[in-house]
């Protein structure tokens, strides 16, 4: 029986009607509707606990459903397990990958076939793997013989996708695929998804991140409290506000409260000072300071060493050099207890493995850091009684839920708030949060931001590590960028946007190419080369190589300044592809824009020379820049 096609011309791949599912005593789905056409990317949205994960797992065969109907290519289906799902062409790419870390990439791609009797034909597998990667446009990004353990998150995800294609999946569910990816990796993933869409496959994209939903999906379905509240609506007809309203069920207003940008006067003295901190191998040279009353963002790509940096500060990771001073006193390495007693708090990245103690009650989880800081033989819970009640009110958590036996019954957002409260109980001088909104729904996220604002308003300092640049820019007063284990920029967030932050955070391999190019220019012509972002009257220098000290442009890598205060104000204001002499005729400067193959603005490359020197052809310089940019 053929199912009638949807409003578009594309045939329907999957239709789910009025699906319900109850776990134990909890109703996870109370009537979910969903449909997916061939050749579409369909966003599945909802706050935590809305049921989108449950629905995904029912479609992929992890769970069965209680009632309702599910049609796959017109046939009614009832999957008993994931193997059933894979056989008919339904695969899921999950946050926690289902890969075997100690097998190779190739073996993982063809994992479903390893169970079959008979000998494995590795040569044929290799060939088929090659074809799959070619079809994704990712021919060279996966070494087949590496163990999966050695791969980055993005590469693991690619293995998952290749694995799905290896069994001929027609329908692929991506469950929060961008959570652990850097912006560059996200855009590569979207390329892959777009290619899969072109081949007529149907993709479900489960995400919290609205801007990603808008950039990649064709239609969206929004769920709330186990029901579908917005079914298969074309994305283009929706505004961000409409989507949020559908997800939360109420108007939310701006999520980010505007950071305080009245300048530095209202911030107190530097309270935490980190100088030349190293923790081999990931952290090489990190220096920054944070002032009382300030939210400092620690930005960078995944793997840049941000989490490792804050763990080394707090004492969870051995340091190999540098110092940390809290309120003027040295903070000992490898001693979280001393750090806590000195006034430091730390919300680690992974809630389940680093924060929650599952066998202790909610109350004891809340009091865990108290127990760590507490001196004395007894547990001393009574002394915190009043503060606990106060905090519960702030969290909006009824007091009787404090006695709940397990944290795990709460939503991710509430768990995160309780972990934050664990530290607020101690009134820390500095609170460090590593990815505080990971896996937290949009409503609770606003609550967490408000909590951070309250903390700094009371005179504490907050350090936030986040891969979400939009979030980082939205909540921080100042941003320190870490790349490849080194701090490379320290700028007020008002001067930055996502694109600039991405450029600053670019890994050192591209920076190395760039430095080589600048050095080449500077040495060959005896001048000074730089790479910078130029705005109206301001400039942020990304990299600078000075071969002749007399031609120093007046700024260094990672610095921001007003164009008029540099040594090359004329060149910066003209921005023409010719050599522009300065007023005093002390130097002449060529400034050329740099764009990558996707047309993204990568800033400007400049070359300053003495006016009496032999000036090179601007076209020759431009060709060199373009060839470097293409590789970035």
């Amino acid at each position: 029986m053929q199912h009638p096609p949807p409003q578009g011309d594309k045939p329907l791949l999957l239709a789910a009607r009025d699906v319900t599912k109850t776990f134990d005593r909890t109703r996870a789905l109370a009537g979910a509707d969903f449909e997916l056409a061939e050749g579409e990317i369909h966003g599945l949205l909802g706050a935590n606990g809305a049921g989108k994960s449950t629905l995904s797992k029912i479609i992929s065969g992890h769970h069965s459903f209680d009632s309702g109907e599910m049609l796959y290519r017109g046939q009614s289906i009832r999957l008993r397990n994931t193997r059933d799902a894979l056989r008919i062409g339904i695969a899921i790419v999950m946050q926690e990958t289902s890969l075997v870390p100690d097998l190779t990439v190739l073996e993982n791609i063809f994992l479903p076939e390893l169970g079959r009797p008979g000998r494995l034909d590795y040569a044929a597998m290799r060939e088929r793997g090659r074809v799959i990667l070619d079809s994704l446009g990712q021919s060279d990004s996966l070494p087949f013989d590496w163990k999966v353990r050695q791969l980055s998150s993005a590469q693991k995800q690619l293995v998952e996708i290749a694995k799905a294609l290896g069994v001929g999946a027609k329908l692929i569910i991506f469950d929060e695929p961008t959570a652990a990816l850097s912006p560059g990796e996200v855009s590569r993933l979207f390329d892959v998804m777009a290619r899969l869409r072109e081949t007529g496959r149907g993709l479900v994209f489960v995400s919290h991140r609205l801007e990603e939903v808008f950039s990649i999906t064709d239609r969206v379905t929004v769920m709330r409290e186990g029901r579908t509240v917005l079914k298969a609506h074309p994305t283009a007809d929706l505004s961000q506000a409409e989507l949020i309203r559908a997800m939360v069920g109420a108007e939310l207003g701006a999520i980010y409260t505007e950071p305080h940008r009245q300048g530095e006067a209202r911030h107190g003295p530097a309270i935490l000072e980190v100088s030349h901190l190293a923790a081999q191998p990931q952290v090489k040279d990190v220096s920054f300071s944070v002032r009382a009353g300030e939210i400092l963002g620690l930005g960078g790509l995944v793997g840049a060493g941000r989490s490792e940096t804050v763990e080394a500060i707090f004492g969870l990771r051995p340091r190999s050099g540098g110092e940390v001073r809290l309120a003027g006193r040295d903070l000992r390495a490898n001693d979280p207890q001393a750090a806590i007693r000195a006034g430091l708090g730390f919300v680690a990245e992974d809630r389940r493995t680093q924060n929650i103690v599952p066998d202790l009650s909610v109350k004891e989880n809340l009091l865990l850091a108290h127990l760590g800081a507490h001196r004395g033989f007894l547990r001393g819970y009574q002394s915190r009684k009043r503060k606990v009640s106060e905090l519960l009110q702030r969290l909006g958590l009824p007091e009787e839920r404090l006695m709940d036996a397990s944290m795990l019954n709460f939503s991710g957002g509430m768990q995160q708030k309780i972990i934050m409260a664990r530290w607020l109980l101690l009134s820390p001088k500095v609170l460090i949060l590593d990815e505080p909104t990971k896996g937290v729904d949009i409503g609770t996220r606003a609550g967490i931001y408000a909590m951070l604002r309250d903390i700094v308003a009371e005179g504490a300092a907050v350090i936030v590590v986040s891969s979400d640049f939009e979030e980082l820019l939205g909540i921080s007063d100042r941003i320190v960028v870490v790349s490849d284990g080194c701090t490379i920029a320290d700028l007020p967030s008002a001067m930055l946007d996502e694109e600039k932050l991405t450029l600053l955070a670019a890994p050192r391999t591209s920076m190395a190419h760039n430095t080589a190019m600048l050095e080449h220019f500077a040495r060959e012509h005896g001048g000074a080369g730089f790479w910078a972002l130029v705005e109206e009257d301001r400039i942020i220098c990304l990299n600078a190589v000075v071969a002749n000290a007399a031609l120093d442009p007046g700024f260094k890598a990672g610095e921001a300044c007003v164009a008029a205060q540099t040594q090359i104000p004329r060149a910066l204001s003209r921005r023409e592809p010719i050599f522009v002499p300065e007023a005093d005729n002390g130097r002449t400067t060529l400034l050329l824009p740099m764009r990558n193959s996707r047309g993204h603005d990568l800033g400007w490359v400049g070359l300053s020379l003495f006016p009496d020197a032999e000036l090179p052809q601007p076209e020759a310089i431009k060709a060199r820049i373009d060839s470097i940019a293409a590789a970035l």
Partner: protein, 325 residues
């Protein structure tokens, strides 16, 4: 999973909440076993047999306290039996050179010292507790034989009997000691920083460390306690028998672990209680006593006990998975 739930779970009645506690269910099981045995043997519930069973609970009960601490941190101590044997011989030899109190102190310190070595090896070098204590178990028994010259030391001073047979308000001192020990251990685990840390370490060591708890100290402490309590337990045995045998405490680790697990502790750590362990000890002792009263051959008793333990845990698992759903 939290992220897939919508709405709060239903609240159970008071009785249901009580039934969800493992200790309560195990107490019910203990009562059922006691009732059955009292039907099978009229002698079972007599005053003298009840005191007899309490008396038999003392040695295994003391060892099970240390074992509970170790298992709460997610560890295991297989060496308790052989540490009891070795410290028993140390006590027997010490008694020939010094008065009773210092001799006992030497034995208890020796037991604690052995536990300290195991605990440090396990937690400083990240060795598996199972393997380290297995090694210590072999070494302990071997040293017990060597120190004793392969024979029992039987010239134990009569004064040792006072440790066991002094009655206070009609209750023998060893039973009073057991009760006091369980109350102290329970209070420690419930009301002190150290006790709560032991639970936190067993449940999630990384989170405990990140919250500033002294995870190393409280991971090692249970092994020290377990070794010291093995020596205390064997002191009571020797006081009753007036003889120190290198074979003492043989296979005691199995009874202790069984009692702790029957009492509801998780071998992964973080879950368990002193009350549960005490019930576990009573169940083990009752079964053994009942089988003896019924005249079951000692060769069959192992099979019977093993079967009952596995059945009890199986029923418990089936009941608990239904109760928590």
């Amino acid at each position: 999973m939290a992220s897939t739930t919508a709405g709060a779970p239903m609240r159970g009645s008071r009785f249901k909440m009580l039934a969800q506690r493992l200790e309560v269910r195990m107490l019910a099981l203990a009562l059922v076993i006691g009732f059955c045995l009292s039907l099978l043997s009229p002698y079972f519930l007599t005053h003298s047999n009840i005191f007899n069973m309490l008396d038999q609970s003392v040695v295994i009960g003391i060892v099970a306290v240390g074992m509970t601490f170790v298992i709460l941190t997610g560890g295991i101590d297989l060496s308790v039996g052989s540490v009891a044997g070795l410290t028993g011989i140390i006590l027997g030899l010490s008694l020939q050179h010094m008065p009773i109190v210092p001799a006992i102190a030497v034995a208890v310190l020796a037991g604690g010292g052995i536990g300290l070595v195991s605990g440090l090896l396990i937690n400083l070098f990240g060795l598996a507790a199972f393997v380290v204590t297995l090694g210590v178990m072999a070494i302990g028994r071997s040293l017990a034989y060597i120190l004793s010259g392969q024979t029992a030391i039987s010239d134990i001073p009569e004064g040792m009997q006072d440790i066991v047979y002094t009655n206070i308000l009609g209750v023998p001192s060893n039973i009073l000691f057991l009760i006091a020990l369980y109350i102290v251990a329970w209070a420690y685990l419930t009301y002190t920083k150290g006790g709560r840390t032991i639970y936190a370490v067993g449940s999630n060591k990384e989170a405990a460390r990140a919250a500033g708890l002294n995870t190393l100290f409280y991971s090692v402490l249970p092994y020290v306690l377990s070794g010291a309590l093995s020596a205390v337990a064997v002191t009571f045995s020797i006081s009753q028998l007036l003889s120190a045998d290198p074979l003492m405490g043989n296979a005691m680790e199995l009874d202790a672990i069984a009692a702790v697990v029957i009492g509801g502790a998780s071998l992964y750590g973080g879950r368990g209680s002193m009350i549960g362990t005490l019930i576990g000890v009573f169940i083990m002792v009752m079964i053994r006593n009942g089988l003896n009263l019924m005249g079951v051959s000692p060769f069959w008793q192992g099979s019977a006990i093993g079967t009952i333990i596995i059945l009890a845990l199986l029923v418990e698992r089936l009941v608990s998975s239904r109760a928590s759903r």
